[in-house]
Amino acid sequence: MVLLAILIGGLAFLGLRAGLKSFLNQKEIPKDLLGVVLPSPRDLPDFLLTDHLGKTFDKARFRGKWSFLFFGYTHCPDICPVTMGLMADVFKKLEKHPQVLKSIQGVFVSVDAKRDQPESLKNFVVYFYKDFIGVTGDDDNIKSLTDSLGVAYRLSAPETDGSYLISHSSGIYLVDPDGRFHALFQPQFHNADKIVSYFLEMMKSYGEQTQKDGRT
């Protein structure tokens, strides 16, 4: 009888502790994710762009998937292919988790509207990973997306032959399935294993949060 009381008491205590713990964690960002995840996700404005297949790429394309975004240009032979290769490594590593792979998309957004047409983007993105999406469009629409994410880019003064270079933010931006700016992997986090483990953790706490909010 005493034993039973202790057992029930113990179970109640454990249950209470677990409940308290999850209550305390509700708004807390896991420690590992500080500096990567935004304190609170940020809504994005409307924009109208075109993907590498000529289809509309607007805010709705972010719905229901985690989107990994990188901003660059195809005339960039060093940082851009290195980062695209890194993003491809992340996707290849996530092939081990088919459920996760189904819920992510990799997007290369060109900040060189003049030179990057959908056709050249197609050859570019698919080379790195078969499902990557290339996105381009007019400057105003690119700007509404980049401004809302804090992405900066600047064209250099053209040389005599008209060629120019572009300096640009080189982080990997993460938009959540609600279409909100959720996290940013700055260059010092650019390691495929690191991004995979952070992302899985992020997905998990997002899932828990969604459940708590009573959404499906």
Partner: protein
């Protein structure tokens, strides 16, 4: 066939290396980062070792496969990546200068024909004292760690990152 051309490229490269091993300046492991065949720019990397008693300067690079070749450096400041062209590249006496992804590179501009993995790209490097080194740079994928080389930026963007660097 691809294997064969790779082998030839390698041999040519080795012969070129051997021929210049006794010279004052030499090129070690030249390579070009593979990219989609449609791109208009590629990047070549290598180590340049100067065993001479005097400082040298790389002043010009040419390749029959490209309209022009420039010396560039990728830089990272406040999360902005940029390429800065250099008009020449000093190689101090007794020093080795490394061109690698995320840093110094030879920017290969406007290929005459599509460049694919396994191709070799002839490069002529001219130094200030008139020495010209001809090398063949193999086109290959970056090693896995190349992707990480640009995370070591000279000025960290924030200190949150520091306690994550324990891999």
């Amino acid at each position: 066939m691809k294997k064969f051309s790779q082998l030839v490229g390698l041999l040519v490269g080795l012969v070129a290396l051997a021929a210049y091993a006794d010279e004052s300046v030499r090129i070690i492991n030249p390579w070009v980062m593979a990219a989609p065949p449609t791109v208009q720019t590629l990047a070549a990397y290598m180590d340049i070792q100067n065993d001479a008693k005097v400082d040298m300067t790389l002043v010009q690079i040419q390749s029959p496969k490209f309209a022009k070749v420039e010396i560039h450096e990728s830089t990272h400041t406040h999360d902005m990546a940029a390429m800065v062209p250099h008009k020449d590249l000093p190689i101090p006496s007794g020093k080795k200068v490394s061109l690698k992804p995320g840093g110094l590179h030879l920017m290969l501009i406007n290929p005459q024909l599509a460049i694919r993995e396994g191709d070799s790209v002839p490069l002529s490097l001219t130094f200030n004292d008139g020495i010209r080194l001809d090398v063949q740079a193999m086109v290959k994928k970056a090693d896995g760690d190349a992707a990480e080389s640009h995370q070591h930026s000279p000025e960290p963007m924030d200190h949150h990152g520091s306690h994550h660097d324990m891999h």
